[in-house]
């Protein structure tokens, strides 16, 4: 039986700005089991990065505010942590790598000193031992030259920097690694290397990975389960094969259709019409309704809950998969209805 490592329940992170409240994350449920690789997919601005930053406690508050819900990591509610307790979690239990390797390392300190800092933050070891461990961690990610410890970030390429970021994230052996678009800024060949590396670390060390991306190719390659987000909500969740073969939510289906395919010739690549809704003025009813080709009258009035699709743990937030009547006897705690 696999144990749940990360469980986000009914989580809402809103931003209070001068121009109104931005509901960046508006009631999402998400779980990651130990050793699992979960993909979190969605367009820019759908709240996936805010979700990941919330798990790290890196959303600046204010303007951000946790409105409701909880984030449980190995049974502990992270939303209630104090500043000091957060520092025990970050880098130690959960680590994160970011989209921009070029700017994610401090330019004025050597790679070694930045890694040693990460180690000594959480482990009671001397400088020499920390340096040794830093070298080990860098060898793990495929950088075997010792001189790297004394090099500065600007002397490294983007791919090398992302390796350093991964080594730095893994150095305290966290249970969960959050990867926020780790390959977006890299060349395609380097992307494959970085993904290989992450998969290897997942298999060898059993580190669970929450892979945040808008690249469905990355998802197909890496993840066992996928959560699709749209406008601050989870709209569909399924294991990776089901999602690709049988997407239920029109948004997911649209995303999959917009991937170019070599075997099918078409004059124009499909794109989902319209734009992401303004987060200050979410549509009433289904948030995807204004862009949806299957839109019905109910979609504009009532917000759909997450419906269970018959096969396994496949859920979809769309009225196509259930009716209002079923909504009445829904499982109130998880906002999920069996159909």
């Amino acid at each position: 039986m696999t144990k749940t490592l990360l469980e986000i329940k009914e989580f809402k992170m809103h931003f209070h700005t001068d121009k109104g409240v931005v509901k960046a994350v508006d009631g999402i449920d998400l779980s990651v089991n130990e050793g699992e690789v979960v993909g979190l997919v969605g367009e820019s601005g759908c709240g996936k990065s805010v979700t990941s930053l919330s798990v790290m406690g890196l959303v600046p508050t204010p303007p951000g505010k946790v409105e409701a819900g909880s984030i449980q990591l190995a049974g502990r509610d992270l939303t209630r942590l104090k500043r000091r307790e957060w520092r025990q979690v970050r880098g130690n239990e959960v680590a994160m790598i970011f989209q921009e390797p070029m700017t994610s390392l401090n330019p004025v300190f050597t790679v070694g000193s930045q890694m040693i800092e990460a180690i000594r933050q959480h482990r009671q070891v001397g400088k020499k031992e920390a340096r040794h461990r830093a070298g080990e961690a860098l060898r793990e990610v495929g950088i075997s030259r010792d001189s790297i410890l004394d090099e500065y970030p600007h002397q490294l390429s983007g791919g090398m920097r992302q390796r350093v970021m991964i080594a730095m994230a893994m150095v305290c052996e966290p249970k969960l690694l959050i990867a926020d678009e780790p390959t977006t800024a890299l060349d395609v060949t380097i992307q494959a290397q970085i993904l290989d590396l992450m998969r290897r670390l997942n298999q060898e060390k059993g580190t669970a990975i929450l892979m945040i991306t808008h690249d469905l190719g990355v998802v197909a390659e890496m993840c066992s389960r996928v959560v699709v987000m749209y406008a601050g909500q989870v709209v569909e969740e399924a294991d990776v094969n089901t999602l690709f073969s049988n997407p239920k939510h029109p948004y997911t289906a649209g995303l999959l259709r917009s991937i170019p395919q070599l075997d099918k010739r078409s004059d124009r690549l499909y794109s989902i019409p319209g734009n992401v809704p303004n987060p200050r003025q979410m549509p009433t009813g289904c948030r995807f309704a204004p862009r949806c080709e299957h839109v019905q009258s109910i979609c504009l009035d009532r917000e759909p809950p997450l419906f269970h699709i018959t096969t396994g743990d496949h859920t979809s937030r769309c009225w196509l998969h259930g009716t209002e009547k079923e909504d009445v006897d829904r499982d109130s705690s998880r906002d999920v209805v069996r159909s």
């Binding site: 790290m56 890196l58 500043r83 957060w86 520092r87 025990q88 979690v89 970050r90 880098g91 130690n92 680590a95 994160m96 970011f98 921009e100 700017t103 994610s104 390392l105 401090n106 330019p107 004025v108 300190f109 800092e117 990460a118 933050q121 959480h122 500065y152 600007h154 970021m165 730095m168 994230a169």
Partner: protein, 326 residues
């Protein structure tokens, strides 16, 4: 860079000094001197020669370490200027210590508590700091701390009754060399008020520059990375952010230090501080050409040197900056 700047400075100061209306010989001999006496004196001071020759003589002198002889005191400027220079450097340095300490911490505090009452208060203090006239601040300090409260002495570098014998003319260093801690304390008490008056404007500039520079760095990706490692807020601010934010701060520091050295005349006058500002100011009144020229040249030289050091520090702070390598 250094050489052309100094050559330029020497030409400019020489020209300006000679363009000042008024005749040094007349200034020395007084209104009622006969034209013959004036002409004779001018000849003996070397002022009868063409300007170009005078300039060549002046530069020759500088290159051999001779800064000329004061018309008034008849002593070598190079000898005479030492104590004044030391007094000004000591005061400027003290003012800069105050400016850097309070300015940077004020700026850091403002950036750390961005858009809160703390930030606004710090920035109001900084705006008052840049706008307050130095002479007014100096007089107020004297009035409150020297006269009303009698906490601190209002003028001079040290109590004359102590009979302190300077060696290097840097009183703090001298007091330490002699092991005279009473003198050290007294010199310290004397320097506080003028240093605060002189340091206020640079303090405010440094605070503003620190704040904006820190804010920019705090939003950067690598600070987020550091935070994601679980590093404490204190280290994030003082180690990671400050080091990256330091270059613009250092630039302001260099420029302000130069201004302090040359622009301390008001403070030196108010607090009877025997510094180079007052020395040159009196020389200007007396049309004492060699003193004016050499005084300004030395100030310019120090200014250039400080900024050279600042440039070198850039490379030390930021490994991406390298000089002389292509």
């Amino acid at each position: 860079m250094l050489i052309p700047v100094l050559i330029g400075m020497s030409i400019i100061t020489f020209s300006i000094v000679h363009a000042i209306p008024g005749d040094p010989a007349k200034a020395i001999l007084g209104e009622k001197a006969t034209p013959e006496a004036v002409a004779q004196l001018k000849e003996s001071m070397g002022l009868g020669k063409p300007l170009f020759i005078q300039y060549v003589d002046y530069v020759k002198g500088i290159l051999s370490g001779d800064l000329g002889t004061s018309f008034i005191t008849k002593t070598s400027v190079a000898e005479e200027i030492g104590p004044y220079l030391a007094a000004t450097m000591e005061l400027s340095f003290a003012a800069m210590v105050i400016a850097v300490f309070f300015g940077m911490n004020l700026g850091i505090l403002a950036a750390w508590r961005h858009n809160t009452g703390v930030d606004y208060t710090a920035m109001v203090i900084a705006i008052i700091g840049v706008s307050v006239p130095v002479f007014w601040l100096g007089l107020m300090e004297q009035w409150v701390f020297a006269q009303d409260l009698s906490w601190l002495p209002s003028n001079g570098r040290i109590d004359a009754r102590m009979g302190f014998e300077p060696i290097t003319n840097f009183y703090f260093i001298d007091a330490l060399i002699q092991g005279d801690f009473v003198a050290f304390g007294d010199a310290f008490r004397h320097i506080i008020l003028p240093a605060v008056a002189l340091g206020t404007i640079p303090m405010a500039y440094i605070a503003r520059m620190t704040r904006s520079s820190m804010l920019e760095v705090m939003r950067s990706d690598y600070i987020r990375t550091v935070r994601a490692k679980g590093v404490s807020e204190f280290l994030i601010i003082y180690k990671h952010t400050l080091r990256n934010a330091f270059i613009p701060i250092l630039t302001v520091f260099g420029l302000q230090m130069g201004l302090l050295l040359g622009g301390a005349i008001l403070t030196e006058t108010i607090f009877s501080w025997p510094g180079i500002g007052r020395y040159v100011y009196e020389a200007i009144n007396n049309r004492d050409y060699p003193v004016i020229q050499s005084g300004i040249l030395i100030i310019a030289f120090i200014f250039v040197m400080i900024n050279l050091i600042v440039d070198l520090l850039y490379a030390w702070i930021d490994p991406r900056i390298q000089y002389g390598k292509e």
